[in-house]
Chain length 301, copies 4
């Protein structure tokens, strides 16, 4: 274990922090950076080393994982004035676990390649709980020969590491899954609400859907109707889980990639609009299954 070379980690937010700590647990010396000093301090206190910039991380580590909130942040961390590319070593492996526009992933990959290094996109599925437990799913895009090297690190943080294809396909897989998830969650909320108003017992209706062709993850694993299941956000006033504002962000990415590739996504597009309206109506921080509550409210004249 002593022989392990340092791994860089940039972005110590809600997700990045527990991910980086899992690398430490697996014996990797981690050199980290975050723009928020508090995030750095907390991480330093846990025994890791903190750098002053992404460039400094790149100087110390030839394998770096980045976990950032949006495309512009990723661009800045890689290509900014003190970005990774200022001091990246030839042959370095740079893995971006942010969820961003796959077009941006491809641009970053080109810039990284010019410096003689390798870029892979590896967005995650699973929330903060999975990040802590180390059982995230990684969807990985990039040159296939480098996949094993990436997998060595990613398996410290996740239980599923899937190779998806060339750079950008990790993002693509994530975006497609979340678009379908958003659609089937809203569909489940609509169907449950309609059934209840037509006189059906919610638990019975969920049971019927789950043994029929309407079955989906949102109906059988994450049912949005309070009282139908235990241990899901709908059982806890829609707290925790995957925030509506994050779902709206992912649907925005789906919309942009669909627009750019001229792909019709009518339901994905409307799902985006519904989550956008929910954000404006006070649901931004509630779990995305709160769409049931949003659609359920009764008319009171």
């Amino acid at each position: 274990m002593a022989s392990k070379t340092p791994v860089g980690f940039i972005g110590l937010g809600n997700m990045g922090n527990p991910m980086a700590k899992n690398l430490v647990k697996h014996g990797y010396p981690v050199v980290a950076f975050d723009i928020f000093p508090e995030a750095c301090k907390e991480f330093q206190d846990s025994g890791a080393q903190v750098m002053d910039s992404p460039a400094d991380v790149a100087e110390r580590a030839d394998r770096i994982i980045t976990m950032l909130p949006s495309s512009p942040n990723a661009v800045e961390v890689y290509t900014g004035a003190n970005g990774i590319l200022k001091k990246v070593k030839k042959g370095s492996l740079l893995i971006d676990s942010s969820t961003i526009d796959p077009t941006v992933s491809k641009e970053l990959a080109k810039a990284v390649e010019k410096m003689g290094a390798v870029f892979m996109d590896a967005p995650v599925s699973g929330g903060v709980g999975a990040a802590r437990a180390g059982n995230l799913t990684f969807m990985v895009g990039g040159v296939e020969q480098e996949f094993d090297a990436a997998k060595e690190l990613l398996t410290c943080m996740g239980s599923n590491v899937i190779y998806c294809g060339e750079v950008g396909t990790g993002q693509a897989a994530k975006i497609c899954n979340n678009m379908l998830l958003a659609i089937s969650m809203i569909g489940t909320a609509e169907a449950m609400n309609l059934g209840i108003r037509l006189g059906l017992d919610p638990k019975l209706l969920a049971k019927i859907l789950n043994m029929s062709s309407g079955r989906c993850w949102s109906s059988d694993t994450y049912n949005p109707v309070p009282g139908v299941m235990e241990g899901v956000p709908s059982a806890n006033n829609f707290q925790g889980g995957f925030g509506t504002t994050l779902m709206a962000k992912d649907l925005g990415l789906a919309q942009i990639t669909a627009t750019n590739t001229k792909t019709p996504v009518p339901l994905g597009s409307l799902a985006h609009q519904i989550y956008r309206m929910m954000c404006a109506k006070g649901y931004a921080l509630k779990d995305f299954s709160a769409v049931f509550q949003f659609l359920r409210e009764e008319e009171n004249l």
Copy 2:
């Protein structure tokens, strides 16, 4: 078996015909009616008895199953000039397996009750194949005390017979399931199409969705992308299966019940419109998973 009293069966179409034959197989003497003479003749040739009208069926049998294409047909068969109610016996059990507006089911139930008989709605899930194999699912609404009597007959034709609640809730369960099915099918088609255009292999994408939160019956059991699965309509040029025009009809029912109960169903509503447009674009008789094909077509300038 000789002691079994006759069972009436009205509506010998694609679904009704094999359903009635399963009753015969289980030893029930069936007295049947259909407005199309050919349908009657075929059934008669198989040894069953055919009547001249619904009223005549009601005169001979005190348990009757009806399987009709739409609300107006059901109203006519029950309350028309030669309808069941003209000659229904007190205490008869009338089971309607048509998929119709639950409001109409309730009206029929009232009319039947006035004659001293019992009405239950029991629409089915499963297509012609399931009707032949006798493994349909019945969703049953009506007075609970009569459920066992209904179940005796329905188990001859189906493997699942579910009690849903008062009259109309069978229809409600069916409509809610099919609305969610339509939504998740279109969502699956959109997600698969977007992923393919972003460079993902369709089989790999399906695998990823099916182990993630986008998983649904449409992605894991009835995938709409040719080449992903065997034995589904998408593997056979979208022939067979559940026709787009039938899905459009069920979505129309969902829309009407949602409008009447002031329930917002934005995705259900858009799904209805999409299947309506598909019907007008030549997809009426293709399986409803052909929405993948509908959305996939490339722009050619």
Copy 3:
């Protein structure tokens, strides 16, 4: 004036009351009915005669106007136990100004015709203000030969009386207009909101739209953005005008007729859902242009 024969009027609500009073002003002796005693009393105090039932109105008057809130009310008033048809005289002219499903209008027409009388549908455009001022628009469906007789009465209450075709086409015209109105109002709200967020001055943007191809009644006559125009609901906190709940009702009728005629109306359908959601979010009694406010709310995390 003394020679004018009595005119029946059934339905003395917000719209019916001022309409009936305009008939009185034009010298017609009015015999009226409403199910709410208060509505009758107020009308009686103004000097008119009030009957005990629609049937009694039909006994006294051979020209009757009905103005009712929904299809079931209209069915009851015409065909109920004490309905018009119980005592209607041969040759009577029955004009229904309610906004209802054109299919129901046609059914009423058939029932009226069987009694040897004439039915016309004549829904109105214009709100309570126009009803008081006597400048409503009537869209009339029915036998063309009877149009002049209907027009004689309707011109007392409206400034435009348009013959639309056979029975039900008056409803059809009204429904189509209001569906387009709802769509262009939401569209105007979206465009104005987007423009404002992109840095445009609302008055300037309205001016540009109104001289360009985006121009519509909602942008140039009833602009939904507070501060752009005077004398419209948006200038008065969206009070008065045409209530969101009424627009939702009309869109429900449009949806039902579209479903029944298998007509794709994707935007009309989504507009219906949006107004339905607004009703559930506290906008039911606000003017329908409040959709600007509904869509405008900012996200606050």
Copy 4:
């Protein structure tokens, strides 16, 4: 006239060619560039001067107009290896009449400003006919002091030149107008189609809408129903006019700006999807009013 200094013009397509010729007609010596040699040749034959690159144009002219098909083209023409900025003179006025993402306009403006020059966005409303006739509408964004200088040139090509505000607001105004146009066109097509199926005469229905609250430019000036108006694309098999593919492009821009500003645009979003589907169904080159035809097709089983 002899004293007029040269004006640069980059982009000699369907729109740019007649626009540049109008500058010539007004006595401006034009120095032009297009990446397609044929476009250059045709223009040269008409007596104008053609350069080898945008940079060369910038060397010869200190007022330049660009008219390009999309954002990447504009970025290339301004900031590419042989782009305008390579040789732009201090104090030059660069006017971009392309329809592009306002965010890109702002980025170009910053890059231009760094070179000591001035950038304005000035997208046009009106098609090829208006470009030839010189009566386009220009919506102009940029520093207000420079507006008069821009107007001097733009009035040679358009009859309306409107100052909208800071850089990007010209694009914003254009995008908002076209989004509302798309919505009201589809709405008009839906309402006309529904009315026709309900038995209304199309001309009569158009007349009723146009005197009522459903009135819009699409109903009264550019009606999409064949036979209702003369001299519009619907009277000529939807040839000419504003192509569906161009409308889809503008709606894509609206979608992207709405996504970026977190603005809900549910109808704009669905309109985008509908035009996208139309492109895939063979309507790409038809006028955008062909949505009537797209929605009208009958179901044939």
